[in-house]
C-alpha cells in the first residue's frame, strides 16, 4: 500500500508530463486548487491523471457512485485514491 506522500509525488510527476510542464505541483500552493477550473486542465487531462494513478496503485475508481464535486483538487483526488487501496 502506498502512502499519501508517495501518491502525491507520483501525481506531481504525472501531472507535469500530462500538462507538458505547465502544472507543477512540487510546491504546496497548488494542491488545493481546482484542477479543471483553476489550473487549466480539461476533463481528458483529469482522466489521464486519474487512470495513471489507478494503474500505478492497481485500484479502480468504481463506476456510478462517485461524487466528482468532492474531487476537484489534486489533494482531494490523491486522498480519494489513497483510500481506495485495500477496499
Amino acid at each position: 500500500m502506498k502512502s499519501l506522500s508517495e501518491i502525491q509525488s507520483f501525481m506531481s510527476l504525472e501531472l507535469l508530463e500530462i500538462t507538458y510542464g505547465q502544472v507543477d505541483l512540487s510546491g504546496n500552493a497548488l494542491w488545493d486548487k481546482a484542477l479543471i477550473s483553476e489550473l487549466g486542465l480539461d476533463s481528458l487531462d483529469y482522466a489521464s491523471l486519474m487512470v495513471s494513478v489507478e494503474e500505478w496503485l492497481s485500484v479502480k475508481v468504481p463506476e456510478g457512485n462517485v461524487d466528482w464535486s468532492s474531487l476537484k483538487s489534486a489533494r482531494q483526488l490523491a486522498e480519494f485514491l489513497h483510500d481506495l487501496q485495500g477496499q
Binding site: 507538458y20 476533463s43 482522466a47 487512470v51 494503474e55 475508481v61
Partner: protein, 362 residues
C-alpha cells in the same frame, strides 16, 4: 511436431461416430494428443462427428452424451474469446470453412495460431483438404513456435500479425533461416509495418493477408504486399460497405468498419472496440497506426479502458527506444487531443491475448 495428412487420415479412421468434446491445453500439448485433436477435426470434416472445442489447463477428449442425436455431424463448435473478452460459442459446418484458396500439396504449414481458434481450424481443414502437412508447436509461445517451424522445415506459415512480431523478436536469425515460401497473416489488421517485416524476413516469399469472420469464414485476401485491400476484392455480389463504413456480407452487418482511400479499403476497427470518450467515438486501431509511425516506437497496442469519469479512455502500450514523456509530446503534435491515449505505458513486450491478437478492451 510434424503431421502428414496421410497420418491424420489413418488416425481419423479410429474415431468413433458421434459427438466429441476436446479441451485443448493452454500449456504443453503432446504428440499423441495433437494427433488425436487433428484426427477429430478430420472426422468432423468427413461428417462422422460433431466436435466441440474449448481451452483448459490440460488435454481431454471425451464423447458428449447425445442420445437424441441432435448435435449435427460435420459441425465444429468453438468457444471464441475474440478481442473484446466476451466469450461466445460458435458452430459451423467444417466443409464451409475450407477456404477457396488452393495450396501446394507438398507444403508443410506452420500453424501460428492457438489450436482452439477459428483461424487454426480453418488452416488445418485447408491443409487436410489439399494433403499438405502441418507443423504444430508443443507450446504456443514464441520460442517454441520458431523451433518447431525450423525443426519441421516448414514451407509456409499462417499466423496473426502480433504473433509474427513476437516470434521475430524471439529469434530473428533462426526465423530468417527457414525457407518460407508463403506467409499468410490473418485474425487481425495487417499494417504496412508488419507486411514489411514479413518481406524482410523472407524476401522471396508470397505475403498474403486475409480477412475472415467467425460467422462467414474466409472472405478475401490480398498478396500485393500493400496494407488494405483493393476495392474489387471486397465489393462483390454478396458484399457491400454502407455509408457508415460497415461491411455487410449477404445483407448482414459484420460489425467491422472500413475506410476507403483511393482504390483501397483500410480496416478501421470493430464496432465493439470503439472507445466512447465523453461522447466522442475514437477507433483504437486508427490511433495505433499513427503511434506506430513515431520514430523510436517498435510496436504499439491501443485499447479501450472503462472509466468512471468519461465512460471510456484510451490506453497505450508501446515498446521501443523512445521514452513515455517523449512519446506523449510527439503525439501532441500528431493527434487531436481526444485521440491521445490517457494511459501510456512503456513495456518490453506488447500484451497479447490467448487468441494471438492484441486485446482491445480492458
Amino acid at each position: 511436431m510434424k503431421f502428414s495428412t496421410d497420418e491424420i487420415k489413418l488416425a481419423s479412421d479410429s474415431v468413433s461416430f458421434g459427438a466429441w468434446h476436446i479441451s485443448l491445453p493452454t500449456g504443453s500439448l503432446s504428440f499423441e494428443n495433437a494427433k488425436s485433436f487433428l484426427s477429430h477435426v478430420l472426422a468432423a470434416r468427413q461428417g462422422k462427428i460433431f466436435l466441440s472445442l474449448s481451452e483448459a489447463t490440460g488435454f481431454d477428449c471425451n464423447p458428449i452424451s447425445d442420445p437424441k442425436n441432435l448435435l449435427p455431424k460435420g459441425f465444429i463448435e468453438l468457444q471464441t474469446s475474440g478481442t473484446t473478452g466476451e466469450p461466445k460459442r460458435h458452430s459451423f459446418s467444417a466443409e464451409s470453412r475450407i477456404p477457396k484458396l488452393r495450396t501446394r500439396t507438398d507444403f508443410c504449414w506452420g500453424v501460428g495460431y492457438a489450436l482452439s481458434k477459428f483461424a487454426a481450424i480453418s488452416l488445418i481443414l485447408q491443409v487436410l483438404e489439399f494433403e499438405g502437412s502441418l507443423s504444430i508447436p508443443e507450446v504456443f509461445d514464441p520460442a517454441d513456435l520458431v523451433s518447431s517451424f525450423n525443426d519441421d522445415r516448414v514451407d509456409a506459415i499462417s499466423t496473426t500479425p502480433s504473433v509474427l512480431r513476437l516470434i521475430a523478436m524471439s529469434n530473428l536469425a533462426k526465423l530468417k533461416q527457414i525457407e518460407v515460401k508463403q506467409i499468410t497473416l490473418g485474425g487481425e489488421h495487417s499494417s504496412q509495418a508488419i507486411i514489411d517485416l514479413a518481406i524482410d524476413l523472407w524476401p522471396s516469399a508470397s505475403v498474403t493477408h486475409v480477412y475472415a469472420t467467425t460467422e462467414d469464414g474466409f472472405l478475401f485476401s490480398c498478396s500485393d504486399r500493400l496494407e488494405g485491400f483493393p476495392a474489387e476484392k471486397i465489393l462483390s455480389e454478396s458484399r457491400f460497405i454502407d455509408e457508415n463504413g460497415e461491411l455487410f456480407v449477404w445483407g448482414r452487418g459484420t460489425g467491422d468498419f472500413w475506410e476507403r482511400r483511393d482504390d483501397r479499403f483500410h480496416f478501421k476497427g470493430r464496432v465493439a472496440e470503439v472507445a466512447n470518450i465523453g461522447g466522442f467515438k475514437v477507433w483504437p486501431i486508427e490511433v495505433e497506426k499513427l503511434v506506430a509511425k513515431v520514430p523510436g516506437v517498435d510496436d504499439a497496442r491501443v485499447f479501450v479502458v472503462k472509466n468512471s469519469l468519461l465512460g471510456h479512455v484510451l490506453g497505450l502500450e508501446f515498446s521501443g527506444t523512445i521514452e513515455k514523456n517523449e512519446l506523449r509530446l510527439a503525439l501532441r503534435h500528431l493527434l487531436p487531443k481526444i485521440q491521445i491515449p490517457q494511459l501510456i505505458q512503456k513495456v518490453e513486450i506488447i500484451t497479447m491475448g490467448s487468441s494471438g491478437k492484441k486485446a482491445r478492451i480492458e
